[in-house]
């Protein structure tokens, strides 16, 4: 028996039943695996279920059926407090926009996972500054998000997503709010982290230029995974 994959999603289905509205099936029996060290993308047009899938993989939402396993251990369906602890330990997140806590400076944002983990102040500050260096943001460590450009904010978000050395960074359309040049340089940062620091990335996008950077692309269509 081979070693369990880093992430394994099995027959994930998700149906939203909004109040007073018809049921929406966002995902239908999606199964996929991710291995450590991947730099992979989930592609698909708007409404195809990319965010839904990433949220379920990231334990932010529960699947209607199916399960998510990390290294063979089931994490879907954990109670909220345990799911939070799991994310704090094992996952990093980057979102499309408004990612950072506006009242905290760049370095305070970057170190926040370590604050939640209870890492002593001096150590977490040093680690946050280090990762800010990796993403080229150490000179703006003391700025608040409103004084940073969109691309700079996303770099800080990248720093925050890796500061606690997670198993995987899940990024839902991290470049959607950026122009193509800024998007490309953010992808440069992510790619170098993947190569030099062995950070596993799974991100979503519908932009072909962005998708072309991924080493593996999974296509979603109407909630179904297209055959490779």
């Amino acid at each position: 028996m081979s070693k369990a994959p880093l992430i394994s999603a099995r027959h994930i289905s998700k149906t939203y039943t909004a109040k007073g509205a018809a049921k929406v099936t966002a995902l239908t029996s999606v199964s996929l695996d991710f291995a450590a060290g991947e730099f992979s993308a989930i592609a698909g047009p708007s409404g195809s279920g990319k965010s839904t899938l990433l949220n379920i993989i990231g334990t932010l939402d529960a699947p209607t059926s199916g399960e998510v396993l990390y290294e063979g251990r089931k994490v879907s369906g954990l109670p909220p407090e345990e799911a939070a602890d799991f994310r704090l330990r094992a996952l990093g997140f980057i979102f499309q926009a408004y990612n950072l806590i506006p009242v905290l400076t760049a370095v305070e944002n970057a170190e926040y996972p370590l604050v939640l983990q209870g890492v002593p102040a001096a150590e977490r500050r040093a680690r946050a500054l280090e990762v800010l260096g990796w993403v080229g943001m150490e000179s703006m460590a003391d700025r608040r998000p409103n004084l940073l450009s969109g691309g700079q904010q996303q770099r800080v978000a990248v720093a925050r997503s890796i500061v606690h050395r997670p198993m995987v960074v899940l990024a839902d359309e991290p470049t959607a709010n950026l122009d193509s040049k800024t998007a490309a340089s953010l992808l440069d940062v992510m790619e170098s982290l993947n190569k030099e620091r062995a950070v596993t990335f799974v991100f979503s996008s519908h932009d072909p230029a962005v998708l072309s950077r991924a080493r593996r692309v999974l296509h979603l269509h109407d909630g179904k995974l297209a055959p490779a």
Binding site: N55, P80, A84, L88, L91, V103
Partner: protein
């Protein structure tokens, strides 16, 4: 977390300040109201006890209507002996209080005749300090001091004679002539228009009572000693046909006024609390709603739902503390200021009908009430945070993140 909570409070500084200010003003208003009512009540008690009732009275045991004693203490001397040895008693004096008729050539009016021991009465009540014409009682048994309204109505001047009439102890009608030696003005319609003071010996002659009196009035070192001293005196006087009464047993009206005022105060407090609570609730709900996405981010990066709840609570505790402190400072400033400058109160005019009541009230702190208000504002501000905090705690991270 405290750092984040503090920064969140400072983020929308104007809104936080408005919340804090509304709490502070609410608390200050409550403290001011409490202080005002309590100061009025203090004055009321002070004036009532120092102008007529004294702190304690000894009366015949079978009297039911303490304000108008209709029976006599036959032998006051042993009671006086006990009072003279009682700790906490500053002064005491015998009195006869009866209703009667005051007549002059110009007419007659009904009046409260107070036959007092002039020198002792001076130590117990302040009536001698209100004299505007003539002098106080002292040289002869057939002198009288009266309010200016009676004097006016009977067209009396200093040195002229009045005839007092009242039902004597034996049931006959007593009548004696007294010379007007002093006229006082207290500002109280009741006192100025209905009270006339004569020496005890003159009163006893009028009423043919011999050495009997119908009350012995006691002034204590401290009004707070009233109940304890009453009990001690009751023990020592237990075998005599007398009873010891406190000022509040005699003056039911004051107690009724107090109860009424306290009830009004409670209602006002409740309204102010409701306003403060709704204000805080509104601010917190607004700030929560604006930040749903942010809570989603916090939960995504690993904050437990309960941690987010604590964050919201911490923010309101900060607001509550700052608001309470500011309110306390503002309240203290107001009370201190009006404690020095005095406050002209319409209620003073109204009450002065019954008692010589000052028109200007000097505010005092009423900490017994203040600290309750303080605690209540603090608790209310935290309780108001509970519903939004619980909502934040129940948010699903993916839904929170979709929120814009």
């Amino acid at each position: 977390m405290l750092r984040l909570a503090w920064r969140n409070v400072c983020r929308n500084l104007r809104r936080s300040l408005i919340t804090v200010a509304s709490m502070a003003c609410g608390l200050a208003a409550i403290m001011f109201g409490q202080s005002m009512i309590k100061s009025v009540q203090r004055q009321l008690i002070e004036k009532a006890t120092s102008s007529i009732t004294g702190h304690l009275q000894v009366q015949n045991r079978s009297i039911k209507e303490y304000k108008f004693p209709d029976k006599y203490i036959d032998d006051p001397a042993p009671v006086e002996a006990v009072l003279a040895r009682q700790a906490g008693v500053r002064a005491f004096g015998k009195r006869i209080n009866v209703t009667g008729l005051v007549s002059s050539p110009a007419g007659s009016v009904g009046a409260m005749i107070c036959a007092v021991e002039p020198e002792k009465e001076k130590e117990i009540t302040t009536i001698s300090s209100y004299l505007t014409q003539g002098r106080y009682l002292g040289t002869s048994d057939h002198e009288a001091v009266m309010g200016d309204k009676i004097a006016q109505r009977l067209d009396l001047r200093l040195g002229e004679k009045v005839v007092l009439m009242a039902q004597a102890d034996d049931g006959s009608m007593g009548a004696e002539a007294f010379r007007v030696v002093g006229i006082y003005h207290t500002g109280s319609t009741t006192f100025d228009g209905q009270f006339i003071y004569v020496p005890l010996a003159g009163g006893q002659a009028l009423l043919a009572t011999g050495r009997k009196v119908n009350q012995i009035v006691v002034r204590l070192d401290d009004i707070g000693l009233a109940e304890r001293t009453r009990q001690e005196l009751m023990e020592k006087l237990g075998n005599r046909p007398v009873q010891v009464l406190r000022w509040l047993d005699i003056d039911h009206e004051i107690v009724a006024i107090q109860t009424f005022q306290n009830a009004i105060l409670d209602i006002v407090l409740l309204i102010v609390f409701a306003i403060v609570a709704l204000g805080v609730l509104n601010t917190l709900l607004m700030s929560l709603f604006e930040r749903v996405r942010e809570f989603g981010v916090l939960m995504a990066i690993g904050a437990r739902p309960r941690w987010v709840m604590k964050l919201v609570l911490a923010e309101s505790v900060i607001l509550g503390f700052v608001g309470t402190l500011l309110g306390l400072a503002l309240g203290c400033t107001l009370i201190t200021y009006y404690g020095k400058a005095g406050l002209h109160l319409a209620v003073g005019d109204a009450l002065s009908y019954f008692l010589p009541f000052p028109k200007v009230i000097y505010l005092r702190f009423a900490w017994m009430s203040h600290w309750r208000a303080l605690l209540a504002v603090l608790v209310v501000s935290i309780l108001a945070a509970l519903p939004p905090a619980l909502r934040a705690c129940r948010l699903n991270p993916s839904e929170a993140l979709r929120h814009v």
